[in-house]
């Protein structure tokens, strides 16, 4: 079964905190999907059926736009109010491509998964998603030590 998310989807999630990286957060948080995955021969690897929709890698977003001031660290994308509105958000926000969640696509991590839209807030515009990918790559190349990976499917 194809995953319910596409690249660039901004969705409601229980994005884990780094203090408890396996556990869903108690409050919902908007995250941007950068990749949706299907398990390969899942039942053979797991010995039991995998979650129907597979897994996803998502990056962190926040509306606390003043957090970084004028000096943006590598990996951060500020989305000003006008562009945020174009992307169906009522306030400016930032995307932190350094903070990544490796999550099963399951309602424990995506609370609205069973809703018709699966918790989709918006699909960000292609130009913005391209920037997300570029910053993601820059962090991989130049600032690996700043990457924070959470979620029960993170590499160990």
């Amino acid at each position: 079964m194809a995953p319910p998310f596409r690249r660039g989807d901004m969705v409601w999630s229980y994005f884990p905190f780094s203090e408890s990286p396996d556990l869903p957060a108690r409050t919902r948080h908007a995250a941007i999907i950068v990749g949706a995955f299907s398990a390969i021969d899942a039942s053979k690897m797991l010995g039991h059926p995998a979650p129907a929709y597979g897994a996803a890698i998502a990056v962190y977003t926040s509306s606390q736009v003043k957090k970084f001031g004028d000096n943006l660290p590598i990996g951060i994308i500020q989305v000003p109010l006008d562009r945020a509105r174009q992307n169906k958000n009522n306030s400016a926000f930032f995307i932190d491509t350094r903070i990544r969640a490796y999550l099963p696509i399951h309602k424990d991590y995506f609370p609205d998964l069973d809703a018709p839209d699966h918790g989709l807030i918006t699909s960000i515009d292609p130009g913005l998603f391209r920037r997300v990918m570029q910053e993601f790559a820059r962090v991989n190349e130049r600032a690996r030590e700043q990457i924070v990976i959470v979620g029960p499917l993170r590499p160990r």
Binding site: A2, P3, R6, R7, D22, L23, V34, G35, A36, F37, S38, A39, I40, M45, L46, G47, H48, A50, P51, G54, A55, I57, Y102, P104, H106, D108, M133, F136, A137, N140, G151, P152, L153, R154, P155, R156
Partner: protein
């Protein structure tokens, strides 16, 4: 059915009573419900811990229909 006695400190009991009143249940029912939800949750988390970590060896990156070969290859390279 097992019977157990649970001792709650006064502050915790007061809070539990308030929440139980709001939910129109007894404190006993509230405690049972909290325990049941927590056990369900632990079971789910343990279930995920049996899944292999997300890597391109174990999972296939889904390609969107409108994504070019080049874009897909670039995106895939980010997860290696």
């Amino acid at each position: 059915m097992a019977d157990i006695t649970v001792h709650l400190d006064d502050e915790l009991y007061d809070k539990a009573s308030r929440v139980a009143r709001l939910d129109n249940v007894s404190v006993k029912e509230l405690v049972e419900d909290v325990m049941r939800r927590h056990l369900d949750y632990v079971e789910v988390v343990q279930d995920f811990s049996k899944m292999p970590p997300l890597s391109l060896e174990n999972y296939e990156l889904h390609r969107d229909a409108d994504e070019s070969d080049e874009d897909y290859a670039f995106r895939r390279s980010l997860f290696q």
